[in-house]
Amino acid sequence: MEQAHHGAGAGPRQRAVEIGTALLTMLFGLIVIYGSVIVGSGWGSDGPQAGFFPFYVGLIICICSLINLVMALREADSGLFAEWGQLGQVLRVLIPATIYVALIPFLGIYLPSFLLIVVFMTWLGKYGFPLSLAVAVGVPAFFYLTLERWFLIPLPKGPIEAMLGL
């Protein structure tokens, strides 16, 4: 887990990301505190109320986030979080993957899986279409057979499956 020993190159600073993360966890802590207060965070007649534990959990998150924030602010600039090029690589997976999961509620799981594998293999892996198509058809087909046919677990389906009457 060595970060930022990649020599030259530009990118976001580790310190900035640390600060951002601390702020993010603090926000999360505040949401938890708010949610706990709504349901009651006191100590009722017969023990703690529903929000008692989450309230203190949220409080501790906020306090520790504050410590992390101060530590990050005081820290000397410790180098890069990652180079832009590296982050670009990450995004090249993250963006297709995000589109993939965003499509599942509308198109079911099979078609997006097919598209994901084809895009990934041809665009990032520079494989030819025959192999890409074979994998992209084979994997969803395998899951269809094992899960839906064998184990009787229905997976999400979209309009195309409905048309085929599956």
């Binding site: 017969d46 009787l152 677990i153 229905p154 009457g165 599956l166």
Partner: protein, 336 residues
């Protein structure tokens, strides 16, 4: 392989199926793909067991042309499962089994649904509730236990039950009201766990369903005091010594005027056609004729009332009012 078996066995049991010939016209609609059977509770619980038994019976006797697939959606005390069915308007390939959380969950949590959002199909059975104590406890009858509760200060006796603001706690509140004393109610995740806590002496009593505690009774670890029904149970098979379910008196006869039965019914999404409902009513009628179903009813000492159509709707209306009243009295309604 399974279907080969089913053919042979189906032929034998078909002899007993007079119900089959009664409704030939109802076969106008048939499922064209696997039917999802939603269980609004976790795996291993009473509703789940019943759903999986139904699935097994239907597969074994080949009662349906496609498969029945059981899916658990237990989030939010079952609210997740009901919402899923509610939102699948007009989908005839989805059914849901219900328990009392059909009424209690929307009231206790404010999750937006009502049984009227679904299409009632049939009541399969009613589940009984029995008052249990540890077999080593000195109370031989419900009367003795009631007297002990009345004689002690509030919250001396601990009642264990499944979940919070659901059927077990509703019964507990009704008992408190009848006796004029408070009990400490401790919620657990499942009925089996409650029974074992009772055996281990961590609680004083429980209101387990018969099937949840019967094995502990057979082992003489727990003792049934009374049943929360208007009449004693009809099952006379010996369970512990000379005792059978029929020898358990009603709570009312023991001076505890509390009655409660839990629905085990099936519903469909809103907007399905009468034909589609009729198909499933017919299906469950045939299930009731199978020996496996009869065995399950006997093992669990179920109340075998079967209802469908308007009769069932009237019952649901009545039950909803009762639950609302009970929940309101107990202060279990969300937002109060």
């Amino acid at each position: 392989m399974k279907h080969l078996h089913a053919l042979g066995l189906g032929a034998v049991t078909a002899l007993g199926m007079t119900a089959l010939s009664m409704l030939p016209a109802a076969a106008a609609w048939e499922p064209t793909k696997p039917v999802e059977f939603i269980v609004p509770a976790g795996t291993g619980g009473g509703a789940d067991q019943m759903a999986r038994t139904l699935q097994g019976i239907i597969a074994k006797h080949d009662l349906m042309s496609t498969q029945l697939v059981v899916i658990n959606k237990s989030g939010g005390a079952g609210g997740e499962g009901f919402l899923d069915v509610k939102s699948n308007k007009g989908n005839p390939h989805k059914i849901v089994i219900s328990l009392s959380n059909l009424f209690t969950t929307p009231l206790a949590t404010g999750i937006p649904f009502n049984w009227k959002d679904l299409t009632p199909v049939a009541m399969l059975a009613l589940d009984e509730f029995v008052l249990w104590v540890n077999a080593e406890a000195p109370y031989k009858t419900a009367k003795e236990y009631e007297d002990a509760i009345k004689a002690a200060p509030d919250n001396t006796f601990k009642m264990g039950g499944t979940g919070s603001k659901q059927e077990d706690q509703i019964i507990t509140v009704a008992i408190q009201k009848a006796l004029g004393k408070k009990l400490t109610y401790i919620p657990y995740k499942g009925g089996g766990e409650v029974a074992v806590q009772l055996v281990g002496g961590h609680i004083n009593s429980s209101v387990n369903n018969p099937i949840e505690a019967v094995s502990q009774w057979r082992g003489d670890k727990v003792r049934p005091l009374c049943v929360f029904d208007s009449k004693t149970l009809p099952y006379t098979d010996k369970i512990q010594g000379d005792l059978s379910w029929s020898s358990v008196p009603t709570c009312k006869s023991e001076g505890l005027d509390v009655e409660y039965l839990m629905l085990r019914g099936v519903f469909m999404p809103p907007g399905v056609t009468d034909e589609q409902v009729a198909y499933f009513v017919d299906l469950f009628k045939r299930v009731r004729e199978t020996p496996e179903w009869k065995q399950l009813m006997k093992d669990g000492a179920f109340n075998q009332t079967f209802m469908a159509g308007d009769e069932f709707k009237a019952w649901l209306d009545q039950a909803e009012t009762t639950h609302k009243g009970l929940m309101q009295e107990a202060g279990f309604i969300a937002g109060n």
